[in-house]
Subunit: 257 residues, 2 copies
């Protein structure tokens, strides 16, 4: 049996240290093909380039490892890899290791998770990994152990079609991490407090700031709660957004044309 | 009681004809405050501007209508409106009318739906509207009737917290439309076929093309099926991506640290 072919991407860019760490673990398991943004694409969610064409640049090619940069979004990277750059469909899509949390509602804004979700749209078992440390020089050495555990299991058991994993790792030393928990996404929202400034021409501009508001801070089966208590969290993610509970309510509306 | 305050945005830009049509219906119901992208932002999904500041420009202010353009994404527009530009929290967030379908998986890529979903994150009843016609000069006159019906009901009944509506309208004449159906999101995927070209310098670039592949073409309770049969579709949307069915399976993995 051939070694697995693993597509790797991220949203912090092709030179981010988190990506290098993910590549090094992925190489233990198979042949690695990287297509990652040429610059930081944090917060790009599931965005795609429609009105501008994209380009890819070969950065490195050696035994078992091919690395491209791409001027598009993380989702563009995965699409271009699957449809143009790779000779065959990858067996797995991995994204990260992200510099910063993608727990709770952040999964929606995250380019890292956008790439992983695009993988599962295409029926490929996929996972995104994030370390709760925004520093560009964050220490990913502890994270590698948990990426390895998840990857071993992912390769052994796979995932149901249309499902991927959102894995978050607390910023802790190895002996401070209590274990790994599978859980659900926390309900919450980012409360924005824009930093309003005035440029030298007298015009206003706004920097996005803000804080996370947890709608269920005491729910012990959520990713935010478990991360706070020192656990690595795995949330299985699916992409049917239908609010099934709400269908009957809206069916009762007066919708006669 | 004050008239409702309605925030309106879109992803086709502040000068798109679909936006003007949505504004004109919204004004029948309340005071309208528009913050829309200064240029087309299709495919921007739930993207936000993190590394660049955003700006807003007042385009128009008259009795019952204020219009700003913003150089950010649709989600940036909603965030900036809620947090900086509006004097009070709006009662409703509406987005569209989009030039083109946002049925099935397109809801994930859509900037129009990104704006509506951002509204419901903030516990505001929200809806996105799309006409299945990509033309910049599409005829939105039939659509207005359906926007009006949905808005009447939305104002009367509201929506559960964290829920919004994805409304799609077929490109048909009024007497060809069979009615309105509340349904679920179709399972499917965009199959990409990039158009690979070579620029005058000899370097490759890629245009995104592609077609929609419906995974369940015979399912008569899905938006794609109903749109194809001539119905306006309403899919209630929620944003908890947890794949609950998959939690027990992953809990059985060997996740000991």
């Amino acid at each position: 049996m051939n070694k697995p072919l693993i597509l790797v991407s991220n949203d912090d860019g092709v030179f981010a240290s988190g990506l290098q760490m993910l590549i090094s673990v992925a190489r233990e398991f198979g042949e690695v093909f990287v297509v990652a943004p040429e610059k930081g694409e944090s917060g790009m969610s599931h965005a795609i380039s429609i009105v501008t064409p994209i380009r890819a640049k070969l950065i490195k090619k050696e035994e078992g490892l091919t690395v491209y940069s791409c001027n598009g979004t993380p989702v563009d990277c995965v699409k271009l890899a699957l449809n143009q750059l790779m000779e065959r469909k990858p067996d797995y899509v991995l994204s990260g290791i992200n510099h910063g949390s993608n727990a709770s509602i952040s999964v929606i804004y995250s380019g890292t998770m956008g790439a992983a979700i695009e993988g599962c749209f295409n029926c490929i078992p996929s996972a995104g990994f994030s370390l709760l440390d925004h520093s560009p020089v964050a220490d990913f050495s502890v994270s590698q152990k948990y990426v390895r555990i998840v990857l071993e299991n992912l390769i052994k058991d796979g995932l149901p079609q249309g499902t991927c994993l959102n894995v978050n790792i607390p910023k802790l030393l190895e002996d401070e991490i209590k274990g790994i928990e599978v859980c659900r996404m926390t309900k919450g929202v980012w409360k924005e407090e824009y930093d309003k400034r005035t440029d030298p021409s007298g015009r206003n501009y706004y920097w996005l700031t803000g804080y996370f508001k947890n709608f269920e801070p005491d729910a012990d089966d959520t990713d935010e709660w478990l991360l706070d208590k020192g656990y690595v969290t795995i949330v299985p993610i699916q992409v049917d957004l239908t609010a099934y509970d709400c269908i009957d309510r809206v069916k009762k509306w007066n919708l006669k044309k």
